[in-house]
Each structure stands twice: as structure tokens, then as C-alpha cells.
Amino acid sequence: MSSQRSTSSNKITDDELNALILRLQTLLPQLDQSRHGRVSAAKVLNEICSYIRRLQKEVDGLSGRLSQCLDSMDLTGFDAEI
């Protein structure tokens, strides 16, 4: 595997990539390093993409529920809860 030291923005050295992938790995609860050890960059990126999609879908669902609640309810008194 050749590591390219190029100043082009799209290319990245293997070491840099690995360092960044490791950082991303800490964000993913299911890929915690202590359990799985080293995971391939592709797998981490895959999990990252799935995780983001899942979070966005969750916000979608919450938006739906909230919009239904808004239509039927009044919004006073919320500040007291925060």
C-alpha cells in the first residue's frame, strides 16, 4: 500500500486517516475501541454514515410527533420546565 504525500485536498496520508478514523470511532458507542480493538477505516465510515442517517431519521420522527402535539396543545408554561 503506497502512502501519498500530496498537498491535494482529496488525498490524505494513511497515518492521518487512521488518526482521524480513531477519533471518529470514539463517537460511535457501538464501535468502542476497548471492545473491538482496531476496526477498518471503511467499517468506521460505514457506521458513521448509518449513525448520522439514524439520527436524522430520529429527528424526523420527533418532528412528526411534535407537529401533531403543537396542533392540539398550548405552549405556555414550558419555560418553567427548562
Partner: protein, 163 residues
């Protein structure tokens, strides 16, 4: 990135979102889920205070009621066709996979389509942390509303707003 985990940030976002929802409710009788999602995203971007590319991209994007009409500057199809060609060298297969994943990631995080790998991963980690907070805050608001339905609204402080 760590700031998205603080209670203070959570409170700031929750109250800003709440104000935005009140405002939108005054102007239109009903809010669709899509509009609400858009509002939630915009408030999230505002809370980021313009420090990240994804937040700036969200605020720069026009508000869409229906489907997104994106302007394609160049034909994307040709690029994909080229990538689909079978690669003879087995070693080369490894690199395109990572690049393909990076490309998918670029499409998911707003405003990062032409970003370098380094910056892309920075933006991604911030974006994920922000999304997690968004989910927490919206869940709290929704659960609060659900609790409110069980109790009588007159329990609350102040007068009931005009319908």
C-alpha cells in the same frame, strides 16, 4: 464538539427552538413535520454560532416547502459511471472503498461536498454531537407535551393563550 454535551447548550437550544415553534404557530395554523424539522435544523445551526461549515450551510440553504430543487453544475452521472468500471488490480480496490464511504459522508453532512478529508472528519464529529443534542432536546420537548396532555392545561402558570 464537547459543548454539545453541556446542559447549558441543551437549554439554549431548547428555549430557542421553543420560541421558534411559538412564532411559526402564530403565523400558520398548522406545522408540517418537514417544516418543523427544518426549523429544528436552523435553530441548531444558529446555536452553533457559525463556527462550523455544516451550520453555515444549513442557514444559507433556501427554505423549501416541498421537494428540494438542487442546481446541478455538472452532470454527476458521468462520474459514477467511471467509478463503476471493474478494477483489475486487487490492491487498488481497497482505496476506492474508503473514498466511496467518504463521498457518502460528504453527502450526509451539509455543506461538505468538496471538503478535504481532514476538515470533513472534523465537521462530522461536530455534526454528530449536535444531532445527538438535537434528539435529546426534541425528545424532552415531546415528552413534556405528552405529559401536558395527561394533566389539565389550567394547572399551568399564567393564562391559556389565544387559539
Amino acid at each position: 464538539m464537547k459543548r454539545w454535551r453541556t446542559k447549558r447548550e441543551h437549554q439554549i437550544y431548547s428555549s430557542k427552538l421553543f420560541q421558534a415553534l411559538c412564532r411559526s404557530r402564530r403565523t400558520s395554523s398548522s406545522t408540517s413535520a418537514k417544516e418543523l424539522h427544518q426549523t429544528a435544523d436552523r435553530v441548531l445551526a444558529i446555536t452553533a454560532k457559525g463556527t462550523t461549515r455544516w451550520s453555515r450551510a444549513i442557514l444559507a440553504a433556501p427554505l423549501t416547502a416541498g421537494t428540494n430543487m438542487k442546481k446541478h453544475k455538472k452532470a454527476k452521472v458521468t462520474v459514477h459511471t467511471r467509478l463503476r468500471k471493474p478494477v483489475v488490480n486487487r490492491e487498488k480496490k481497497k482505496l476506492p472503498v474508503v473514498e466511496r464511504k467518504l463521498k457518502a459522508l460528504r453527502r450526509l453532512v451539509p455543506g461538505c461536498r468538496k471538503l478535504s478529508c481532514n476538515n470533513l472528519l472534523e465537521e462530522t464529529s461536530d455534526y454528530i454531537a449536535a444531532l445527538e443534542m438535537q434528539v435529546r432536546a426534541m425528545t424532552a420537548i415531546t415528552e413534556f407535551r405528552a405529559r401536558g396532555e395527561a394533566q389539565a392545561p389550567t394547572d399551568r402558570l399564567g393564562s391559556i393563550g389565544n387559539m
